[in-house]
């Protein structure tokens, strides 16, 4: 057994990026405040000192510009890591990240790969209001040619970011500001987590709960509550949204015969809607109840503490959903 350390999510991300930058000189980090300021959320703390200003590069507030710069650099053979201070600000770079990055390989008939990682905070940060609380995954997941990873804990953050950097496709890496200080065990030794491989966070026999990223914490909390009522939940962390490891989900649903999907984005045309549709197609005869989805409410995120809390998925909503599908309501 290799030794592990208890480190923060942000440190795990930095370790992953730094290891890849040591390993491969074509990797560089660029974004707003990543260098001299040491990262708006201190993810890149110390990286400027280690790698110097040619590889850890501050940009002006110019998302379209540097998101596109990364694509050009990737077409030329580099492996950029582009940090968005928040995925909410990726919207002003939508043309670059959705129209250029994921289509270049196809439009060029296979000539130009775009091995790029876009990363930053996604999801409600905590009373940031409507413009700053985006969960972009459902909207962006509609686009072929890109991959989306959404890590749950420091271990996954490091393992997934390293794989994302080595991937030859554009990878959107969705972190959560609310998780950056979460601590977890991370091995000293190098490891990678493949994209497209879900993991079972809790085994159970009565109901499958599928989720991605931060809401998994609410799923785990709900599973504990439900366990005390005698409902034994299996919690699946998809880890990546594209590719989606539907096989792991299907295997679980065939065992539990019911399924709740928890998704922090809005309900209309969402990741959870997609997972539910696929589960219905694949597990129709195994299901005791149709899939129930738990989302953020279909409204812009409010500033007021109580309204924001009310809007987001939480353990109470998940418990209700599980009770519904298991006929324990």
């Amino acid at each position: 057994m290799s030794t592990t350390r208890l480190i923060e999510f942000r440190d795990a991300l930095r370790e992953g990026m730094s290891e890849e930058m040591r390993r491969d000189p074509s990797v560089f980090l660029m974004g707003e405040e990543v260098a001299q300021y040491q990262g708006a959320y201190k993810v890149s703390r110390g990286m400027l000192q280690e790698f110097g200003p040619q590889r850890v590069i501050d940009t002006p507030i110019s998302e379209s510009g540097f998101a596109g710069l990364g694509i050009g650099a990737a077409m030329m053979g580099l492996r950029p890591i582009i940090e968005f201070m928040s995925w909410s600000f990726s919207l002003v770079a939508a043309d670059q990240i959705l129209n250029n990055a994921p289509k270049m390989l196809y439009m060029s008939g296979g000539q130009f790969k775009v091995p790029i990682v876009y990363r930053g905070n996604n999801g409600a940060g905590g009373q940031l209001g409507s413009t700053h609380s985006w969960s972009v995954e459902s909207m962006y997941a509609n686009v072929p040619g890109l991959k989306i990873a959404i890590p749950f804990d420091p271990y996954d953050a490091k393992g997934l970011i390293k794989t994302a950097i080595r991937d030859d496709n554009p990878v959107f890496f969705l972190e959560s500001e609310r998780l950056l200080s979460v601590k977890g065990d991370v091995p000293e030794a190098e490891y990678l987590i493949p994209l497209g491989q879900a993991t079972v966070r809790r085994t159970g026999s009565d109901c499958t709960i599928v989720s991605f990223g931060r809401p998994l914490y609410f799923c785990m909390e709900a599973a504990e509550t439900l366990a005390s009522d005698g409902i034994d939940c299996e919690v699946i962390d998809g880890r990546t949204i594209r590719p989606l490891d539907i096989e792991t989900i299907v295997r679980s649903v065939c065992k539990t015969n019911c399924c709740v999907v928890v998704d922090q984005s809005w309900p209309f045309a969402s990741i959870a809607a997609e997972v539910a549709a696929q589960v219905h197609e694949r597990c129709f005869d195994d299901l005791d109840h149709h899939v129930v989805r738990v989302h953020s409410d279909d409204v812009p995120p409010a500033y007021a503490y109580n309204l924001e809390q009310e809007m987001l998925p939480n353990a109470r909503k998940i418990c209700e959903a599980v009770r519904t599908v298991t006929y324990n309501a």
């Binding site: 110019s62 596109g68 710069l69 043309d95 008939g109 991959k147």
Partner: protein
Amino acid sequence: MPTMATPPATQRNLAANLPDQTLRKWLRDMLLIREFEVRSMQAYQNRKIGGFLHIYIGQEAVAVGVIAALGRDDPIITAYRDHGHALARGMDPKHCMAEMFGRIGGCAKGKGGSMHMFDKTNQMFGGHGIVGAQCPLGVGLAFATKYLDEVINSGASSRVTTCFLGDGALNQGAFHEAMNLAGILDLPIVFVCENNGYSMGTSVDRGTTMAHQITAKALAYGIEHASIDGMDVMTVYDGVKPVVDRCRETSRPAFLELRTYRYKGHSMSDPRKYRTKEQEQQYEAADPIDRLANFLMTQHNLAQKEYDALVKEIRAQVREAIKWAEASPPPGSEELYTDVYADVWGPYLGTSQPPMLDETQQDQA
């Protein structure tokens, strides 16, 4: 602090002192582009080409003159009016035509089309369909060449990226962000704005402030700039070459306005009601191909007979390209799902299997 740039002192007669065969090559390239475009329009009318088609006729001196000022390893990137750049850069007209025909022999296997010409071998990083969107990409190419030379190979930055754009792109945020980034990061990139007077039906003064002096945009970014007559290939070369050389040396960006004119409509559906026949004739009278041909005839003993033979040879070449493109089969349905991802993790891992995948599975069964 970037120094406030002054227009470069254009070195006169650079082109005039080039070897005879270089100038003849330029004439050939311009004639090829023109003939290629004439035949493209016909093919479009015959419904061999679909989608949008943007014709480069009138602007040939820009692509040919600018590209002549570059090295073979210097990347270029442009917008959707891109056939001229592709051909001037050395793409075989067969592959260019086949791309527009949507055939597997196209430079992008028929998956890009007229607006999206890519040619890795010739360092052509695409035609790009979204106005202005190529500018940040161009900055990225320049960033990468510099990074590869300096960080990875521990040498000196040696390549210059050329990013072509239309006058319409001056009004896009992406252009301005790109200029600012290029200036702040000291990147070796030359923005070449082909000011052909119009973005679709909007004349440049209706869409852009300081239309009489668009180089003022560069002034705001502390970027060297100049306006150059884009209707004369030798003037283009004389104006561009020193700028490219200086850019290579100093790794500082530059912005060039190339004053030119598109003889045809914006795309094939444009009746050009927004301008007069007289204006068009005025530009056509100063045609860049005629100008170079005249120069070669008066100064380099190009005989009318030789010129006629060249025209004939090019006609045959383009005819051949069309034949070749027609003979090239459409991309097989397996191409639908290749190049979506660099590695093969398959198509949409979702619900409905695409029918042709079902077929292959049946075949295997």
